[in-house]
């Protein structure tokens, strides 16, 4: 093994990309290090273009992209440190999964025995060791996804780009793949996961990149990003006894903007606040002082889905 690359694993500086008259990416500045990063955005937002730029398959019109400190477009040697799982579901249908992964692994110049060994290890890691000798055409969508991920990690790359890796996987397979992706990140790899399924991304990582209309909308930890959106208050749903009395008391607190009693709801009291942390600390204390207890405390606005909704609705 050669020495690890020091510095950001993926970098985009002032990157723009045009397809004819359409600007797919616009002045993207992004630095990504080890761990799992979710790449989010609506269809056509530029996610796949960004992944292709990092994979050296496109040349930016302006700015520059670096993979492990090198330009992946002009220095294809650096691509030995990259594993790409593209979104497409197309394969050599007559090949077995094992042969497919083996053939692609050998493209890294590995001798046959070593490629075979790495292929077997990768297939085992994605849970395909028993089905790897099936032909691709005979595999379920979930098996094909696993095989596609196996080819991306077989050569042990430090950077892994996964474009919609959970598409078509059944719930059990999804849970397995989420665990696998998390473990790839925990091993110190830079794993970028492009996905539309927000709760699955949330299960993998709290570090996200939002892109819309080819522009970088946000990058960072989900909760920290949410706190930056100070023009968007949080709703908090509380399950408490005597919701009217609690609402009246809470309205006197400076961080509470509004309180609404929801008759017949499992969480009968809805509070609106701009400071979720303080609310989380002080509301249970206030309710306790009133002789009650907070049985439920949830904020539908603090999750990734809410953040996504806010970010894509901002012009």
């Amino acid at each position: 093994m050669s020495a690890p690359h020091k510095g950001p694993m993926l970098e985009a500086h002032g990157v723009s990309k045009m397809y004819g008259q359409v600007r797919a990416l616009n002045e993207i500045d992004l630095v990504i290090g080890p761990g799992v990063t979710g790449l989010l955005g609506p269809n056509g937002s530029g996610k796949s273009t960004l992944l292709k730029l990092f994979a050296g398959q496109l040349l930016p019109d302006t700015g520059h992209v670096k993979l492990l400190g090198a330009d992946p477009f002009h220095e294809p040697r650096v691509l030995r440190g990259l594993g790409l799982c593209p979104e497409q579901d197309k394969f050599y249908e007559d090949m077995s999964g094992h042969d497919f992964v083996g053939a692609l692994t050998r493209l890294h110049g590995l001798p046959k025995d070593e490629a075979e060994q790495k292929t077997y290890a990768a297939m085992k890691r994605v849970g395909m060791e028993r089905y790897g000798f099936k032909k691709m055409r005979e595999m379920s969508r979930g098996m094909r996804q696993r095989t596609k991920i196996a080819q991306a990690i077989a050569h042990d790359p430090p950077v892994v780009l996964l474009d919609e890796p959970l598409t078509g996987a059944d719930p059990v397979a999804r849970a397995d793949l989420i665990a696998l992706i998390r473990s790839l990140g925990e091993e110190g790899r830079c794993v970028v996961v492009s996905s539309h399924v927000l709760h699955e991304v949330e299960a993998m990582t709290h570090d996200v990149v939002f892109i819309r209309y080819g522009r970088l909308r946000a990058h960072g930890d989900i909760l920290r990003l949410r706190t930056l959106l100070d023009d968007r208050p949080y709703r908090i749903l509380l399950d408490v006894d005597r919701p009217r009395a609690v609402a009246a008391r809470l309205m006197g607190l400076p961080f509470v903007q509004a309180a609404q009693v929801l008759e017949g709801d499992a969480h009968p009291l809805e509070i609106t606040t701009t400071d979720l942390d303080t609310a989380g600390r002080e509301i249970p204390q206030v309710v306790s002082e009133m002789g009650g207890v907070v049985r439920g405390f949830t904020s539908p606005d603090a999750d990734l889905e809410s953040l996504y909704r806010y970010l894509i609705s901002r012009r």
Binding site: G56, Q57, V78, R80, L107, L110
Partner: protein, 308 residues
Amino acid sequence: MSDTPFEGGDRVFEVGYRPMPDRGKRQPPAVAIARTMLTLAWRQRATKIVLLVCLGVLAGHGVWLVGQLLFERFGAEVGAAGMPVGELVGSAREVLANFLRVQFFTTAIAVAVIAGGAIAEDRAAGAFDLYFARPLTRADYAWGKLGGAGLVPFVTILLPVVLLWLTAIGIAPPALRSELWWLAVPALGGGILSVLVLATTIIGLSAVGQKARTVSIAYVAGLLVLSGIVEGLTNGGFALAGYIAPERSLHTVIDWLLAPEQSMLGSQVSGRYRPINHSVFGSLVALLGWAGAGFGLFWWRLRSEVVG
């Protein structure tokens, strides 16, 4: 929210870095590309059948050559009966020339079956994205595909030529052996030309085709139709049209290289001696033109589909 939402300053990037995979002793990626292409082709029954046909052509010419040389060696009485051995069973030159001409056609079918999907299948399987996310250049890919496609005529034409030549050297009468030593050069020249033309043209057609089977059928049909049209045109007085058909140009060059004379047996095996182009140089240029067009088409498509 801040105008510059990216806040990357608070990260410790040097924790947990993975080393790059070791480079060590590596095989050229072109070898893996050729291997994958041939592995995929080998799964088809048609590949095995067409290779058997090529083997049959080789076996037939092998028998002819061995018989002819044994006649040379032991059949003095045939000559004494008033018919020279050469006129009856031909010479090693004729066997090799005839082998190159016939095997060009059978190998054309073989490359169509084996390499027809070389690029068309990669496109259909979306393999470009997977290939070029690896340390691979377009040149590596081109070498891999050309190597894979070229291996077919190499095995069915070039190696058999060497085999036939070695057989001839081994069993020829001593007086004939010195002449046969030099026969390798023109025979291999014809073989190399065949390999070049077949490998580049099939790769070029595969690069523009969408499906492997369509490419295979179009290649063989195109060769036959072109040959028929050209023959009709040349018979009608358009001699220049002869240079359009690759098999006719190859025929011309091979005849010039090997200077065979048609024997009685030869006319039985390969039929009436067909007319050839007037200019050897023109035929050679035409063949190289086909090879260049095939490779050019391939490279043009590759450049338009794969950036970098």
